[in-house]
């Protein structure tokens, strides 16, 4: 069965085989939506579980995400053509003054693997750019990352800027990064905190009540 092979190819990070298996599944008249929801998203979810269980680490997760990407390159035009909606949208960025992008990128890969549309604002993102992006894209979620104790306060500043712009209730907020804790998330009144990339994807789904 090619979809089982596809599932394994994603977890093993075999991007060439993942592309081949995707094409075979499409040729066998399996719908792009079914391939995404019944094979690819569960595969990436297992990648997340393996990561949380310390069975795989960042290299294996990145390589799996790369295989997932090769599948999405094939599926995406078909999904759009079929009018299939994404599970949710999220604006992501590393806060002002912080140049770290690896953690944020891992979160993005796991979110995309979970079927989210991600708008990546990059690194060193000032509060006003987050506000503007929320206004423009009307995302279901806003994700912020900070790796430094000194830049973590920019998360709070961004939340304040959203409140000031009257947009705080327009989106739910999910935060993470090395110094960020649940206590800090509670203190600044944001809905979600995630310890790592795979949990971020899970918590994003929980926040939007997606099974």
């Amino acid at each position: 069965m090619s979809v089982d092979d596809l599932y394994d190819a994603i977890i093993d990070g075999d991007k060439n085989n993942a592309a081949v298996q995707t094409q075979q599944a499409l040729d066998a008249d399996i719908s792009p939506e079914a391939i995404l929801h019944e094979t690819c998203i569960p595969a990436m979810s297992e990648v997340g579980d393996l990561f949380e269980a310390s069975e795989i680490f960042i290299p294996e997760m990145l390589i799996a995400a790369r295989a997932m990407q090769s599948v999405m390159d094939i599926l995406k035009p078909r999904l759009i053509a079929d009018g299939i909606d994404v599970v949710g949208s999220i604006v992501m960025g590393t806060v002002r003054g912080d140049m770290h992008d690896i953690g944020k990128n891992l979160v993005i890969m796991m979110l995309e693997g979970a079927g989210f549309e991600v708008i990546d604002l990059g690194i060193d993102v000032p509060p006003e750019a987050f506000v503007e992006a929320v206004r423009k894209h009307k995302p279901d979620l806003l994700g912020m990352s900070a790796l430094l104790t000194t830049t973590m306060t920019e998360i709070g500043n961004t939340v304040a800027a959203l409140t000031e712009a009257g947009l705080r209730d327009a989106t739910k907020i999910l935060i993470g990064g090395a110094p960020v804790t649940k206590e800090y998330a509670d203190k600044i009144g944001v809905e979600g905190f995630a310890e790592d990339a795979s949990r971020a994807a899970r918590i994003a789904k929980e926040l939007l009540a997606i099974a």
Partner: protein, 359 residues
């Protein structure tokens, strides 16, 4: 010589030999330039060391960073960097100089003998040699490959092109060994390297991958430090529980900073490794030294000393660095407490925890 005659240098060297000095030494991996400026009234790093009587001085090779038209900086390693909030300039992955084996073969490290290479160190050695311990900060197996290959690409290539990764690690360590040789001749006594291979929960790559690609070179590097007559005090953030045995077996002399943010526990490390390595740490600088009270800081110092002080082999410090968010008065309270409570023989009654009533 009585113990009270100990210089800062002797105090640190006694600690790294796992002995009890006259009192517990204190020194820092890194101190924010802005705080140096404000806390010394416009003085230098050297002035800060002297004013706050830190027992060790950090030195390292100097590299020229050339401004580029795109606003970034190009360093002598061929790495493009951008300046963020901290003085530290992050390497930009998209411009990483080594992407293929052909790139690696062509790539040459910066000339370790360049005339400017150790200017800062020479000055600091001149000012502090014999008085304070001279540390040289160099890189071990992770940070140079990360910057040369790019962070994300390094992770990918660990899985997909391990030969390339190992080639970069080998060339990086060969370079670091040359720098150790030169630094030893110039008067360095202890090497400190701060390559981080762990996040708050665990190593970022599997321990198996670490042992295959990186550990052999880490061992070679540790041996080279000792061959040059220096001690090695390894600094690393994150939860390193899974690889601490590897560091200790490789022969490191000290470990720093036992990162509390990553649930590293001072008592566990002292208990398990205290007879093999010296320990430095770990007054929390993520929250306590940023937003705590003086009383809480004093209690934390007492707690650290109570746990890691007995028997010596301990230096008390922040849990990472005196970064830009640290409040000067809290750092000073930490230093005062180390001096008040850290004199040997330790007074365990005085070190008993007090109840803090006010916040």
């Amino acid at each position: 010589m009585t113990f009270s005659d100990m210089t800062s240098r002797e105090r640190v060297l006694a600690a790294i030999q796992r002995q009890e000095p006259d009192r517990i030494p204190t020194f820092e991996w890194d101190i924010d330039p802005g705080l140096i400026n404000s806390m010394t009234g416009g003085g230098s790093y050297e002035d800060f060391i002297e004013k706050f009587d830190l027992d060790a001085v950090m030195c390292g090779p100097d590299y020229i960073k050339k401004p580029l038209d795109n606003g970034y900086l190009l360093d002598e390693w061929g790495v493009t960097r951008s300046i963020g909030h901290e003085a530290y300039a992050m390497a930009m992955d998209e411009f990483s100089p080594i992407k293929t084996m052909a790139d690696l073969e062509k790539w040459e490290p910066p000339d370790p003998y360049a005339s400017h290479r150790f200017d800062t160190m020479k000055e600091r050695v001149k000012r502090f040699k014999g008085k304070r311990a001279i540390f040289v900060q160099l890189r071990d197996v992770w940070s140079n490959p990360r910057d040369l290959i790019g962070y994300e690409q390094l992770f990918m290539k660990c899985g997909l092109e391990p030969d390339l990764v190992e080639g970069v690690v080998e060339k990086s360590i060969n370079q670091s060994i040359k720098l150790v040789e030169i630094a030893a001749e110039l008067g360095a006594e202890v090497v400190m390297s701060g390559d981080d291979i762990a996040d708050n929960r665990r190593t970022m790559i599997s321990p198996r991958m670490w042992r295959k690609l990186f550990l052999p070179h880490f061992r070679r590097w540790t041996q080279a430090i000792h061959d040059n007559g220096l001690y090695y005090w390894k600094h690393t953030d994150g939860n390193i529980t899974a690889v601490l045995d590897d560091f200790v077996d490789a022969g490191i002399d000290g470990i720093d900073p036992i990162d509390p943010l990553a649930n590293m526990d001072l008592a566990t490390v002292k208990d398990k490794y205290g007879d093999q390595v010296a320990i430095k740490g770990n007054v929390d600088c993520a929250f306590l030294l940023v937003e705590g009270t003086k009383e809480e800081v004093v209690e934390s110092v007492k707690n650290c000393i109570r746990i890691a002080g007995p028997g010596g082999g301990y230096a008390c410090s922040t849990s990472n660095s005196v970064h830009s968010g640290v409040r000067p008065e809290l750092y000073i309270a930490m230093l005062d407490a180390i001096r008040e409570y850290g004199t040997y023989p330790l007074d365990m009654d005085k070190l008993a925890p007090s109840t803090i009533t006010s916040k």
